[in-house]
Symmetry: C2
Subunit: 278 residues, 2 copies
């Protein structure tokens, strides 16, 4: 890889092992891996990847195009079951529902529409914007798996996250007061990005609610991801931006740009943010 | 109502009759109404409302907070069945899956998370923006149910849509070239807006792909709506904005602002737009 990582091989990377599903094509088993948690809770993008993998194993077309997940309750680390139902098998699109459960209790319900993403898709029109304007990874704040408060961010053992200092005030003791955060993301072990990795990347940065001074866990209610192209090798640039925090809920948009400067994924989530009772 | 409409009554309005569901709490019947179609195809926001109504009849909590729909194929006008499965019954949130089908074939799969929306919710933080800047309804272009090409937009018999002329060039023979459209929306019969009406409002304007000069039907692949507050009486202001049209797919964000200037709904859809073969 251009940035000094070892040449990628397939299926031996931590992300693929941790999101692997077995069995199928409709009933799958998997293991919720302790390595992809934040304070003991599995990351939402990680879980959505697992559900999407199960769906991809049950329906036609190689790539997710649109994935919507409603998060019902945080799974525990350990065995899980996934049940997939095919809803459409079309010429250009297929759709499946995937339910991730433990002990028969549904914890994540996902809808996955698949198709074929171009490696060099034809951009018909694009808004005049571009990748987020931020310093190179080496001049950004490296995400630390051990937070001062004692919380363990295991997922940062696997994800190399670099935050634009201009937006990461909450980690320097002065939250910006805005739902906004920018950063770089790649896998620590050099796994190349692909559409599944984008499902992880949209949920890899800390929640923007940290920048409102709310440092508690921000449980995701809903997360939808649109995949727009196959990403190139290299760092992914992620820009998060929310519009409104009201009644304890906030929205958060994510744009992911690849190393060639192409918009490769768009996501939005609705999540909870309530200040810790004083 | 402040804008001269008759005082609203409940349950006798066209929108409620056309989205009514019968039976329940898990198996429902409904009728896809010819009045809410565009060129014979039922509108996506209309169908999502019907699915949400069925979900609301099966689970706790009065309001939809997050609704995600994957559109599998356009239903025909006529009888339909809805099957609802409860996925979570929580203290503050409930979630259900609703499948709209005809003759046993699934046509729309929706996930609905419900909760309690504030009438006067506490805005903790909001991005410095506001309702779209556009002329008042009387100075906008009124949506016409009969297009010059002969297509019948039945839904405009029920929805009063006024487009900001600055963004509606495609209706004046000069598309703007941007995925952008603004307009006002209300029901023709004076039905007051509520959270269900917002599900309709996010999909009430023409597709922004018209403004790229593509005047063909824009089939929705996925549509997610976040409801942020109960809307006030009066016109709804809708701002549509897309980021990227690539490989025949485009994204379209919708913001809906109520008559008090509050952001009451956010939506995003992924839809298809392909020029007619010449």
């Amino acid at each position: 890889m251009a940035d000094g990582h070892a040449a990628p091989t397939t299926r031996e990377h931590a992300f693929d092992l941790a999101t692997a599903v077995h069995g199928g094509p409709t009933s799958w088993t998997a293991t919720v891996d302790p390595g992809w948690t934040i304070g003991g809770r599995p990351n939402g993008g990680y879980l959505l990847t697992m559900a999407t993998r199960a769906a991809l194993g049950a329906i036609e077309h190689p790539h997710p195009l649109a994935v919507s997940g409603h998060f019902l309750a945080p799974p525990a680390v350990g065995p899980a079951e996934l049940e997939v139902t095919s809803l459409r098998a079309g010429r250009s699109l297929s759709t499946a529902r995937a339910t991730l459960a433990q002990d028969g209790r549904p914890l994540l319900e996902a809808l996955v529409t698949t198709g074929q993403l171009g490696a060099d898709g034809t951009t018909g029109w694009q808004r005049a914007s571009g990748p987020p304007d931020m310093p190179p990874p080496d001049e950004c704040l490296r995400g630390q798996p051990d937070l001062p408060g004692g919380m363990r961010i295991n997922i940062l053992d696997h994800l190399d996250v670099r935050l634009d200092p201009a937006t990461a005030g909450s980690f320097l003791g002065r939250p910006s007061g805005r739902l906004e955060l920018r950063g770089w993301v790649r896998f620590q072990d050099g796994r190349p990005p692909d559409p599944l990795a984008l499902l992880q990347a949209v949920d890899a940065l800390p929640p923007t609610s940290f920048e409102l001074g709310i440092s508690t866990w921000a449980p995701t209610v809903e997360l939808t991801v649109y995949l727009r192209a196959q990403p190139a090798l290299g760092w992914l640039a992620v820009a998060l931006r929310g519009q409104l925090w009201r009644d304890g809920w906030f929205d958060e948009d994510a744009e992911v740009w690849d190393a060639r400067g192409r918009l490769v994924a768009q996501a939005r989530q609705l999540a909870g943010a309530r200040p810790r009772p004083s």
